[in-house]
């Protein structure tokens, strides 16, 4: 959930479950980063992570997870993570950046938003609980895996499919 507003209502706000209080609290000491992902399995964080993934133009290099200039984020085998697939590794990758073009987002993207993007990237690889991962998005990306090559067309290409 987003960080808790200062004055939350009597019955609390659905957005108030997060333990993080950036901004309104004293400046955090950045030497030892908080290594636990506060948004593990959180449906709202995955939705926010997807939105931020689009807003901060991560799709520019990683496409919608399929990879382009940057490596694909949907791994066929979970051992393919170059710098590790745990939340803290992905957090580190985003905050510190990586050679070959991954920029350092440390000062730019607020910390809680980095954790949301981490949770979303993990949900792309089905590492988050199914109940929290939405089945589809309202975006153009059509699940290419849903369209199988047409066996008949392959058998006799060129014939007009009746």
């Amino acid at each position: 959930m987003r960080p808790a507003p200062a004055a939350s209502g009597v019955l609390g706000d659905t957005a108030s479950e997060s333990a993080l209080h950036p901004g309104s609290q004293a400046q955090q000491d950045t030497t030892h980063l908080n290594v636990v992902n506060p948004y593990e399995g959180n449906a709202y964080a995955i939705a926010e992570g997807r939105r931020l993934f689009g807003w901060y133009n991560c799709a520019g290099c990683h496409a919608n997870g399929g990879g382009g200039i940057g490596p694909p984020l949907i791994k066929k085998d979970q051992r393919d993570w170059i710098y590790g697939g745990d939340p803290v590794n992905i957090f580190d990758t985003i905050v510190k950046g990586r050679p070959n073009g991954m920029p350092t987002w440390g000062g730019k993207i607020p910390e809680y938003q980095v954790w949301q993007i981490v949770t979303f990237v993990r949900s792309l690889n089905q590492l988050e609980p199914r109940a929290a991962t939405p089945a589809r998005t309202d975006s153009l990306e059509q699940k290419t895996s849903t369209i199988r090559p047409d066996k008949d067309a392959a058998a006799h290409p060129g014939a007009v499919q009746q």
Partner: protein
């Protein structure tokens, strides 16, 4: 009362207001007649028409029945005529009020609803006259405005009660509405279709001003942001360009050009911040930047961790963008 359909000051809203008065009076009279008849029947209950002994047959005499049957059929006939008249009246007013094609010579504005603020885009054939702004729409008085509505996420509804009826903004289905302000003034509008957690704080202002005043406003808005003069503001610009702000906001004339958040090129000239939630003062701006979740819980504005020393210059810089 600047967000009221009753205090109409646009031609369309005025037509609708007159129609509402006609409907209200006519239907009010019918209501009073029906309730009057019901209450009058209370007074007559011990005598009824013709006072037949009901206990036996439980059926009044045929003359009473015939009298009542005639009365009911006349009443039904009148109801049908009234409703027919109201239908014709409402369809005719409907034609003049929301024509499917905007009248000639109308200024085209693209309004895009996005979760919990408004993207305003002045369209024009001459690319140099195209303006991108947010949450505040200046329009010339007396000239029809074509509002082309669209949405980036969920269904919103563009509604300025003093000028025109509402039109939903549906993703994937552009809609058209036209409005016209007859008197200069400031008219508040609000999103009318439930669009999520901050639906309540998704307002905008329409400022109608004489044509020449509008043209000077437009020309000023088309200029890129003025270079900050005093060093406090210069320091503020550095902070802006260094921190997370440029990931979402754009200020023409600087390297910040992200289209995700509202355009801040002439932020200082706007009346309100956060889609009509707060007046545009330095104190409110400081509170908004420090902790937006406190003012609009659930908003997509990021909580940027700024050093306390950096806050004041940043606010000076933003307010200097008149």
């Amino acid at each position: 009362m600047n967000q009221s359909m009753w205090h109409a000051s646009g031609s369309n809203a005025a037509h609708i207001r007159e129609l509402a008065i006609v409907f209200g009076l006519l239907l009010g009279v019918i209501f009073l007649i029906v309730i009057g008849l019901a209450l009058l029947s209370l007074r007559r209950r011990h005598r009824g028409i013709g006072q037949e002994p009901l206990e036996g047959s439980h059926h009044p005499s045929t003359t009473t029945e015939a009298k009542l049957r005639r009365a009911v059929s006349i009443a039904t006939g009148i109801t049908v005529l009234i409703l027919l008249g109201l239908t014709i009246l409402s369809v005719s007013v409907g034609k003049t009020v929301s024509a499917s094609v905007a009248p000639a010579g109308s200024l085209a504005i693209d309004i895009t609803g996005t979760q919990w603020w408004w993207k305003v885009h002045y369209a024009s054939d001459d690319p140099s006259r195209i303006l991108e702004t947010a949450n505040e729409i200046h329009i010339p008085v007396g000239r029809p405005i074509a509002i082309r509505g669209n949405s980036e996420d969920v269904i919103h509804s563009f509604w300025v009660p003093s000028l025109q009826g509402k039109r939903d903004l549906i993703p994937g289905r552009p809609t058209l509405e036209w409005l016209q302000a007859d008197h200069p003034g400031e008219y508040r509008g609000q999103c009318a279709e439930f669009c999520g957690i901050q639906h309540a704080h998704m307002a905008f202002w329409v400022i109608a001003e004489p044509t020449d005043q509008f043209n000077s406003w437009m020309d000023h808005q088309l200029q890129p942001a003025a270079e900050p003069a005093d060093d406090e503001a210069i320091h503020g610009q550095e902070i802006f360009l260094k921190s997370a702000c440029i990931l979402c906001h754009a200020i023409r004339g600087t390297i910040a050009a992200a289209q995700v958040g509202p355009d801040l090129t002439h932020f200082g000239s706007r009346k309100t911040i956060a889609a009509g939630t707060l007046a545009n003062t330095k104190g409110n701006l400081a509170g908004w930047i420090a902790d937006p979740q406190n003012i609009k819980p659930g908003t997509h504005m990021a909580t940027v961790a700024l050093q306390p020393a950096e806050m004041q210059p940043l606010i000076d810089y933003l307010e200097s963008l008149k």
